[in-house]
């Protein structure tokens, strides 16, 4: 059962990611990314991280990606054009990507034999467990993130607002 669910949603995630790359219109890419994120949420559930799974959906799929789709809709740029501005991206970038994947994969495969198995009966990290750590040990970082977000809001408003002189 776990295996089946894992395979299904891993496949969804990979397909979504591939679709993100292949689609020419940003809105399709955005929807593909939502698929990836939602599948990842299911995978989090399989790993016992139920709160994170929901946070993934609410924050990523429900908030961040909505912003993306909004921007796509507002700017309405249309399909992306095929341009060839970057030589380095082809010559350096793609070999580097291949190397990156190779290194990562071989490292994981080599280290992976030490790792255990994941199964549905492993038990879950409840919201209480999470909040106990978050609000006791890591209270200061948590409060700092709230400050960060506040600053981000101000920054976004300041950046996106039209200049009064030009408006």
């Amino acid at each position: 059962m776990h295996l089946v669910l894992f395979l299904i949603f891993a496949l969804f995630a990979l397909a979504g990611a591939a679709n993100l790359l292949l689609q020419k219109h940003p809105i399709n890419s955005a929807l593909s990314l939502i698929v990836v994120m939602s599948s990842l949420a299911v995978l989090y559930l399989l790993l016992g991280a139920e709160f994170l799974a929901m946070a993934q959906v609410i924050v990523y799929a429900g908030a961040i990606m909505v912003l993306f789709t909004f921007v796509v809709m507002l700017l309405n740029e249309g399909r992306e054009e095929k341009t060839w501005g970057s030589h380095a991206a082809r010559v350096v970038g793609f070999p580097a990507v291949v190397a990156l994947l190779a290194v990562l994969a071989s490292a994981i495969l080599r280290a992976g034999r030490h790792y255990g198995m994941v199964s549905l009966s492993d038990g879950i990290t409840t919201t209480q467990d999470l909040s106990r750590v978050l609000f006791r040990d890591l209270l200061l970082p948590f409060e700092l993130t709230s400050v960060l977000i506040l600053i981000a809001i101000l920054g976004a408003v300041a950046l996106a607002r039209k200049d009064d002189g030009n408006a």
């Binding site: 993100l20 990836v36 993306f68 501005g85 990562l104 280290a111 198995m117 994941v118 750590v133 996106a160």
Partner: protein
């Protein structure tokens, strides 16, 4: 019925998604899609965090993902605002055409 899955499969999936994010960053021409590729990479990393948290029974791994989400939210807000500002000035979002610091 309850077939377990090796933990490194999750890690491999994470690596694959990350690599696809990098490819997206390199190959996509629209600034927004490039930005989405970054989010994809962040998500891939999050997956490996959750996997390790499960592997080592460490709640802090999940907390880290939580923080990544918060930072990603902040980043998305500011980043998209910058994209809008760029579009307003340049009239395009094609990465290859936005390569001057001057207006």
């Amino acid at each position: 019925m309850n077939t377990p899955v090796p933990a490194d499969w999750y890690l491999l999936l994470s690596a694959a998604l990350f690599t696809m994010g990098v490819i997206g960053f390199l190959s996509k021409r629209s600034l927004i899609t490039v930005f989405m590729s970054i989010e994809l990479m962040l998500n891939a990393v999050n997956l490996s965090f959750v996997t390790f948290a499960h592997e080592w029974h460490a709640v802090k791994g999940q907390i880290f993902v939580f923080f990544v989400m918060m930072v990603a939210a902040a980043e998305a807000a500011v980043g998209l605002a910058i994209i809008i500002a760029i579009f307003r000035v340049r009239g395009t979002l094609t990465v290859d055409q936005i390569d001057r610091m001057k207006l």
